[in-house]
């Protein structure tokens, strides 16, 4: 996902040098991998998804993107893509989905769900 | 140190005159001027005053003028409006007033016991020279008539503080007032 800084945050400088700064600041995010917090995960039913984007708009962590699916509706279809590294499993996407095609499923069973990424 | 109190009405350019006076003595006479304007609810036509202190050394005081050496009246109606024009004056205090009315001048001098009264019809001059009832340039010319500040300093400061053209017209008004100022 764009805008997620984890990749940069932990990158050491060329010479592995450090410097002292004053005041509240974080350059390493210990709890950045919020995907590990999930108990439930959203399981979208892509066949019923209209690609309206409500879930994308309301997602508090900004991990949902509506993408084109060339395999759906002759190439004009849309599906939701979720960044599992950061999805906290809060369920807001399931609540706001106007077609009720996102179902929250148990994380440990998540792999059984239809999954595209 | 000279302490000068300028009384007038909103719209007559009293505060601007006070600033230009400080400019004239500080920039063109190697003296030190300080303008302390009084601000409140600005209203056109309401009584306004501003204070100026002039000295040969930097002016330390950051306070209003309570015992003026010079009182300037931009509106001759000020005493009728209850403005205490003579408050705090002493035996050497002088008055500079915007009027051509000699009777009024005599009356004010006697009532308030100013040592001298300098007077000129600054409004008339302003109407003739700048076409507007803003007598501040002319009143500064009248002040130059007292010898406290040189007329050349006043005209230069006017030119430097107004837009081109406007400054020249005000400078002309000042010089005319300077030449026409009379003393009682």
């Amino acid at each position: 996902m764009p805008g997620q800084p984890e990749k940069h945050m932990n990158k050491p400088g060329k010479n592995n040098k450090t410097r002292t700064v004053y005041g509240p600041v974080a350059t390493v995010f210990a709890s950045v991998n919020t995907g590990s917090w999930r108990i439930l995960r959203p399981g979208p039913d892509h066949s019923r998804c209209a690609g309206c984007g409500q879930c994308e708009t309301f997602c508090p962590t900004g991990v949902i993107e509506i993408i084109d699916d060339p395999a759906k509706e002759g190439g004009r279809g849309k599906v939701v893509e979720i960044d599992w590294a950061y999805c906290k499993g809060c369920g807001i996407c399931a609540d706001v989905c106007p077609k009720k095609c996102i179902r929250m499923v148990e994380e440990k069973k998540g792999n059984e769900n239809e999954e595209r990424n | 140190m000279y302490r000068i109190k300028l009384h007038g009405l909103g719209g007559q350019g009293v505060v601007t005159a006070a600033k230009i006076l400080s400019h004239a003595v500080s920039i063109h006479e190697n003296k030190f001027g300080k303008t302390v304007p009084a601000f409140g609810h600005e209203r056109r036509g309401a009584p306004v005053f501003a204070d100026v202190m002039i000295d040969d050394q930097p002016v330390l005081v950051n306070s209003f003028v309570y015992e003026p050496d010079v009182v300037m009246l931009f509106a001759s109606s000020a005493p009728d409006r209850g403005i205490p024009i003579a408050k705090g004056i002493h035996s050497e205090s002088i008055l500079v007033i915007n009027t051509g009315n000699e009777q009024l001048v005599q009356q004010l001098k006697e009532t308030y016991r100013f040592k001298e009264v300098y007077y000129v019809d600054a409004t008339g001059i302003a109407l003739a020279e700048i076409g507007r009832d803003i007598p501040n340039g002319a009143m500064l010319g009248a002040l130059a008539g007292t010898g406290i500040v040189a007329i050349d300093s006043i005209t230069r400061a006017l030119v430097e503080n107004f837009k081109p053209g406007e400054g020249d017209r005000n400078a002309r008004a000042a010089r005319k007032a300077y030449e026409q100022t009379r003393k009682k």
Partner: protein, 408 residues
């Protein structure tokens, strides 16, 4: 070498000129009387390209300072200015600037706080923020407004300080008073004040930082301690920068200024524009044979304790003028500092509250205070003075100034 011209500026004009000379690149200011001319003049400078900067129009002082902080963290000098309730509305964000060590320099045009509503000068607005972690400078005249702002940048941005600074000027008495001011040219200021460089925290997409994150009890005290150390270092660094300034511009300033104190029987401690009037009055009283002196506090945060104690050593009677009420305290904020600076000797320190809500602190007021202090010198009574604060210029009918008609 030194290129300065004498110009006529009021306090707001001098503040604007100083911000321009400091080459601020982002401005986010919200107008409030008597600061408005600063916000207006800066916008004119931007529109006319006399100042190459972005002007962010904001809807409040809270946002004005928030924008300034964000902008400055990208590596530019950001400017804002305020007064009175505007400063109060900044209260939360003042702590963000100081805690995140963003060295913004902000003119504060001192005006009373509500209520009663007042447009006019006293120091309560800045006093209410005296523990906000900002350096506080108080100016006596318009020249100091210009000079202190330039000096404040060099102090605030010092690697050991990294602390924002308020440069306080008395509303109307300085903000709207036109005075001759030696105004330096850009080249000379550039030599004194190098281009801004982020020395601590910064916002850069290529090297991300998460600034102002939640900080646990494990580290909070430590970060406050860092600020405390900066304030202690400032007591050494401020005079260094002031001396550097004097070397270039020829005007010497200090943490405080002593006027005729050496042989003075009584000394009056002042702050802001009243200091000039007090010095003038002291000169007049000396001509009449009275040994009186004046101290002007130029830097209130950090408070120059040792320097003040040194100057007041051996003085039996000291007066303090507080231009804020200090309600419920043992005295006004300045008196508390002076009193605490003199713990172990027998100096008696008297507090005078004066000049609230625009009341003029006149030569008469100062003279009355000096006369009272001189009388105390020779009083040998066990309890020569009633304790408490003297409201020297408050009218005797204070408790009955307003009567209303009773509608039974």
């Amino acid at each position: 070498m030194k290129k300065e011209i004498r110009r006529m500026l009021d306090g707001n004009g001098a503040a604007t000129e100083a911000l321009k000379l400091a080459r601020v690149q982002v401005i986010s200011a919200y107008p409030i009387t008597p600061q408005s001319p600063i916000a207006e003049k800066l916008s004119e400078l931007v529109v006319s390209h006399k100042l190459e900067a972005r002007y962010i129009r904001v809807e409040s002082e809270h946002t004005a300072l928030s924008c300034a902080i964000g902008a400055q963290l990208t590596g530019v000098r950001a400017a804002t200015a305020t007064s009175s309730v505007g400063l109060a509305l900044m209260h939360e964000i003042l702590g963000v600037a100081s805690g995140c060590r963003v060295p913004i320099v902000m003119p504060v045009v001192n005006r009373a706080l509500v209520s009663p509503w007042s447009l006019w000068c006293d120091h309560q607005d800045a006093m209410a923020e005296r523990d906000s972690g900002w350096l506080q400078f108080y100016t006596e005249n318009v020249q100091e407004v210009m000079d202190f702002i330039l000096i404040a940048y060099n102090i605030a941005e010092h690697t050991e300080i990294l602390t924002p600074a308020m440069v306080c000027l008395d509303g109307f008495f300085l903000s709207h008073s036109t005075q001759p001011v030696m105004t330096p040219d850009q080249e000379t200021v550039d030599a004194f004040l190098p281009p801004y460089r982020s020395k601590n925290l910064f916002l850069d997409p290529k090297d991300p930082m998460f600034i102002n994150n939640l900080t646990s009890p494990d580290e909070f005290s430590e970060m406050r301690f860092q600020q405390k150390v900066a304030f202690e270092r400032a007591l050494d660094i401020i005079p260094e920068v002031q001396n550097h300034f004097a070397g270039i511009f020829g005007r010497q300033y200090g943490l405080l200024e002593a006027h005729e104190c050496e042989d003075a029987e009584v000394v009056l401690v002042t702050m802001g524009s009243m200091a000039g009037t007090a010095k003038y009055t002291a000169n007049m009283m000396r001509k009449a044979g009275h040994k009186v002196g004046v101290i002007k506090i130029s830097v209130f945060r950090p408070f120059p304790v040792a320097q003040l104690a040194g100057l007041l050593k051996g003085k039996k009677v000291v007066g303090v003028i507080d231009r804020s009420a200090g309600l419920g305290a043992q005295g006004g904020p300045l008196w508390l500092e002076v009193k605490a600076a003199l713990p172990d000797n027998d100096t008696r320190v008297f507090d005078y509250v004066a000049g609230l809500g625009g009341r003029d602190i006149t030569e008469k007021t100062i003279e009355t205070i000096f006369t009272g202090l001189l009388q105390k010198v020779n009083k040998k009574d066990a309890n020569p003075d009633a304790p408490g604060v003297c409201w020297i210029d408050t009218h005797p009918d204070a408790m009955s100034v307003r009567e209303v008609i009773v509608n039974d």
